[in-house]
Amino acid sequence: MRHVFETMGTVASIELPSAWASERAELERIFRAVDDRFSLYRPDSELSKVADSRLTLPSASSVLLASYARALEWRAATGGNFTPNRPDGTIDLNGIVKAEAIEQAGEYLTSVGCPQWSINVGGDILVSPTGAATAVTSPAGQLAPALLRAGIADPAAPTQLLCSLELRHPRRAIATSGSAQRGDHIWRGGSFEPAEFVQVSVVANDIVTADVLATTIVAGGQAALDDVTDRWDVDVITVDRAGDLRATPGLVSALASAS
């Protein structure tokens, strides 16, 4: 069953087996809690209070500090291409907390024993370790993990697909960053030049890695793309300003066949 609700300024689409439909309330609560704590557009969120000095960082909650610490680790790992600090110094954890919320929701579903699920929040997708859709039987007669086929939106025509690929275990997560939908919301080291890539999709084993590295490549361009594909076990497809594509071998081999 597909459950759709608004959260974090976008829309969540969660697929659960019918017997697990009652988990929807808890899932919505998980996303709402993250939204309430980290949204800078909510004046009374904890992060808003840190931003305008109503709350000092040392007295912030352990949850907020953990997210900030994780974002700082990513900043170090990506040479600053991913950063939780706006140019004016404000801490903005938007780049990581949505993925963390998806991760948390996935961990919750696994912990309660939900066998198969997929979570798509604003275009970032995570599927259960067992796959997403109905289980299929392999020719050998064993239960094979079902594949999730995910389309990637075409940045030039958001109502069309650029391509489709299969998320195969352990590649359970795909995230896409770009300027196609919400404007150029990724800071690029103070540069006002248009981004080299208008859209970057990263397939990884976990959703936070996928999301952070997609942002990193949009921010850092070709050099970041090469660095990311050299140092992380991820698959990537990019669309540059001319509309040309680049893809890693793993992504090409994961492309779905027409059916």
Binding site: G123, A150, G151, A153, L162, D226, D230, L245, L255
Partner: protein, 178 residues
């Protein structure tokens, strides 16, 4: 620099092949006989000169090189083939030394057109096989075209606003309960 090296080696091998092919370079067939491929009048350049020119170019001219592979080579072969063109089969080119290492390719020719190009030797400047590289390389849209029509249950895209969601493919899939 590694991308450039890998990309360069791919371009180098492709240009060696194409230019060599167009310039009428001799290749050796699998049964050891030598065969000269037809000369294309438009390609009077020295293969080695073109290799060094093409290899270090950036990705934008890389894609134009790519389209050369698609369009020029089969056309170059087609007019000549009727009279003297190579018979169908797989031909192995000689090993060519480039700044990226030795490059050797095999071409498969069917009905006067190149239908496949296989790199037999392709190394980058570290001597590491290109095949194990995870680098993202330019691909043509046609390479992903077929996958567009696959049935999908979810769409990944740059984060949409609630309003943009309504017009998105994801919204349609959600309404269909995909």
């Amino acid at each position: 620099m590694r991308t450039r090296a890998i990309l360069g080696s791919i371009l180098a091998s492709t240009s060696v092949l194409i230019v060599g092919y167009q310039a009428g370079v001799s290749v050796t067939t699998s049964d050891g006989t030598s065969l000269t491929l037809p000369v294309d009048s438009a390609a009077g350049t020295d293969p080695n000169a073109t290799t060094t020119e093409t290899a270090p170019t950036d990705s934008s001219s890389g894609s134009s090189s790519g389209s050369t592979t698609d369009s020029t080579a089969p056309e170059a072969a087609a007019p000549e083939t009727a009279a003297t063109g190579p018979t169908d089969g797989t031909y192995t080119g000689s090993s060519v030394s480039t700044r990226f290492g030795n490059v050797q390719v095999a071409v498969t020719i069917s009905s006067g057109s190149i239908t496949d190009i296989t790199a037999l030797q392709l190394t980058d400047d570290d001597g590491r096989s290109v095949q194990i590289s995870n680098r993202a390389a330019p691909i043509l849209r046609t390479a992903v075209l077929e996958s567009q029509s696959a049935q999908v249950s979810n769409v990944s895209g740059a984060t949409y606003t609630t309003q943009a969601y309504l017009a998105s493919v994801q919204s349609a899939l959600d309404q269909a309960g995909a």
